[in-house]
Point group: C3
Chain length 326, copies 3
């Protein structure tokens, strides 16, 4: 079954959230609008809404990730759900239990949602294909394939600063080839109607298929940054590189690191983003990361709201109009 | 003090749950009936009841177990208790703190219940003997001694399919010698009035004392399965075997693995059970594990209800009639 | 900024809790009085108050500690807060994320409080200097510097038995040099007006600067215990000792171990305390630890109430008069 088909239920509502690819502009906009309703929850005295009370959400992490797990855990707790953290490397698989048996056991315990992180591309899709109909699966990053909630929090952050996607020029810098984040960002930007998406990086880190995605390829940071509204930097995924695709981090920084001088080539009101954690002095200079055009910490804040939105939507319990915006 | 005496308070109510042995048919039936009250909680929109709100339950796991810990944690959370997970190998004992000092410290923190898993037989009993009177201890598996909540969820599952224990013929297949599950199952079946309990396995895996438990011993799977109503398979506890009690897994499967062909020797409506996790192709064939007579995933579901029942009973707060069955 | 200044907000209220040093007698007494309001929560049927509902508290442990983490976690849960446990050695720092970036990310997630444990003296102060104004930091032990909540639970326990601090003679025995507990206790005793504080230990374990703290130094246990009201024993921090400061544990026990015979030198109604975990037969004899003058387990119980008090105070939500004492 295609990822598009598997993500929507028969009524066209979001049931799993595996990939941006194949979703409609309406669905993405719905996620962003729902997240707006949750954005104020984090600043209240009582940072909790009862929408998912009595639901059981399992963080199924086959790959360690403190940051992503933390934001999903906080989002779930602020929705009043019960959260179970399973770190699978130290778990039942060591007793020889197969992945599917483990999933069926969690289903039998009446869990409602699996938030899946895995170092294999396609893992979340595979799990979504095999779970019981009442369970929703959210992809929290699979190999180099997709990281859709990251892309949606990026879109949310962009929209808050640049409300009209159809007038934007957006550049993504760095290791496009290994980045699930970049892949999901490109799909989201295309679907939301951004007319010009650029990818910037050395030839070794831009995959040949990039051009099929409708992006413009630049191998010069200076050329690629010209007049852009949004600069999306990427973490250099050192742990994911095989072989010597790069001469050195110092050389990468010299050619593709985002400095204040280079950022001046973009529009004066351009915003700078990064999915974190940052390698300071490798893909971005501290002066930029901490500078006035950086919205990197806003991305983190927005990540909670966007994940609350997706979690409540896939369980069919988005906030009613006015309910969460009070 | 005998385990029987230690488990009941002066009013004859369950205070600890260490072992099936020595409990009355009334107590076991009471657990099953209480679990029926909780069985619907898992299917509600809001899977939570407030019975143990403000209680503190400690999962005291001296032996790793994702599955058992998960079910106890979910059961506790659905009763609205606060749960503390302590994995003791990575904890205070490395600072030289004695087990008893650790227990007394947890008592002093006003914890209400210890769910204990330990690789030494008798550990839960020892702890129950030494805790303060207001604390309840539940045995979540101790060495090769007992696993009473597993046995009760098995009895619950049997009763749902075969309501009259006094007319049943039940077979337990596999490594009886090392199995705390088998030991607890045999006691429960005897107490609940099952007239014929059989154990089936190679001579090396059936302990000499088995015959004292009133079971019939079979060394042939074909003979033992004849006309039984319930087939209880066991996990081959490879990690618990010392020395070469078995020629090979392949040979074990050839002689004692449950296949569709062999299952035909049992009654046509016989049910097949397994405590999990399954070694497919070792003690059970996938066609049987996933087949129409398998109730293995029901066991998992029922495990939550049975643990909720035991937890609420030992804390003296079972649901009132009608309260949880709504 | 001095630790005193950083701990209080502009209205003189406690905002961080990093060190006893520099706080006023009024603030310390306020903590003790607030803890009295929480002391009964642990004995209720429902051990929960809604004061910090919807707040997010992060246990930021850079050094493993089951016991301290557990008491903070229980205190937070009984205040109805959401708790996030981050064990940093196994976390984001392995991806090269700097400490400050991690803190700013947690801030951006709208966390409200960091409970910090670190093996470097000054770590909690450093973090308090760098967090956003809305976040409170509680020091749960930093190197050999301070452990202020431990000292306050000790003061609370003393006051329950000996209500007038200004008439007490208190002895602290053991490894003063490496003990953050002793350092915080001495400051608290001084501030609360205890007229005579003694430290007792071998020359190698009493730092030269001890005399500046207004304490009396004894190298003989017999002399130092004479007529004291309170005996504070310390854990022998074997893991923190560098080189051969001690001949052997047996010799330490012979000279400085607290036995029943030696305790007779103190006042007949003297109380004996220990921060735990105990090395039985090293710094204290079991007969004393478990004897009638020991209040060691009361300390553990009081630790929950004191931590609930500090947590509610730094977030500006102490219980209203009468609210928690019902």
């Amino acid at each position: 079954m295609s990822t598009r088909q598997i993500q929507l239920d028969s009524g066209g509502q979001l049931h799993h959230f595996i990939s941006i690819e194949g979703l409609s502009r309406e669905i993405l906009t719905d996620i962003l609008d729902t997240a707006e309703n949750f954005a104020t929850v984090g600043t209240r005295q009582v940072k909790k809404v009862p929408l998912l009370r009595g639901k059981t959400i399992v963080n199924l992490f086959f790959e360690p990730s403190t940051r992503t797990r933390t934001t999903f855990e906080l989002a779930a707790k602020r929705l009043s759900a019960d959260v179970l953290n399973l770190n699978i490397s130290t778990s039942a698989t060591s007793k020889g239990e197969s992945l599917l048996d483990m999933l069926h056991n969690l289903e039998a315990m009446h869990c409602d949602m699996f938030v899946v992180r895995h170092n294999q591309s396609g893992a979340a899709h595979f799990i979504a294909e095999h779970v019981a109909p009442h369970i929703s699966v959210i992809n929290a990053g699979d190999g180099s394939h997709a990281h859709p909630t990251q892309a949606m929090l990026d879109m949310f952050t962009i929209r808050r600063h640049k409300p009209d996607f159809t007038s934007l020029r957006v550049a993504i810098i760095g290791d496009i080839k290994h980045s699930r984040v970049a892949r999901s960002q490109i799909h989201a930007l295309n679907i939301l109607g951004v007319p010009e998406v650029r990818v910037i990086g050395p030839q070794t880190l831009i995959p040949p298929e990039a051009s099929h995605l409708g992006v413009h390829i630049y191998h010069s940071l200076e050329a690629g940054l010209q007049d852009v509204d949004v600069v999306l930097t990427l973490r250099l995924q050192r742990e994911r590189m095989e072989g010597a695709l790069l001469p050195s981090e110092a050389e990468f920084f010299a050619r593709f690191g985002l400095t204040e001088a280079k950022l001046k080539l973009a529009k004066p009101d351009a915003i700078v983003m990064h999915p974190g954690p940052i390698n300071r002095g490798v893909e971005i200079d501290s002066a930029v990361a901490d500078g006035p055009q950086s919205v990197i910490l806003e991305q983190v804040t927005n990540g909670i709201a966007v994940r609350m939105a997706v979690m409540s939507m896939v369980l069919g319990r988005p906030p009613q109009s006015g309910e969460e915006s009070r």
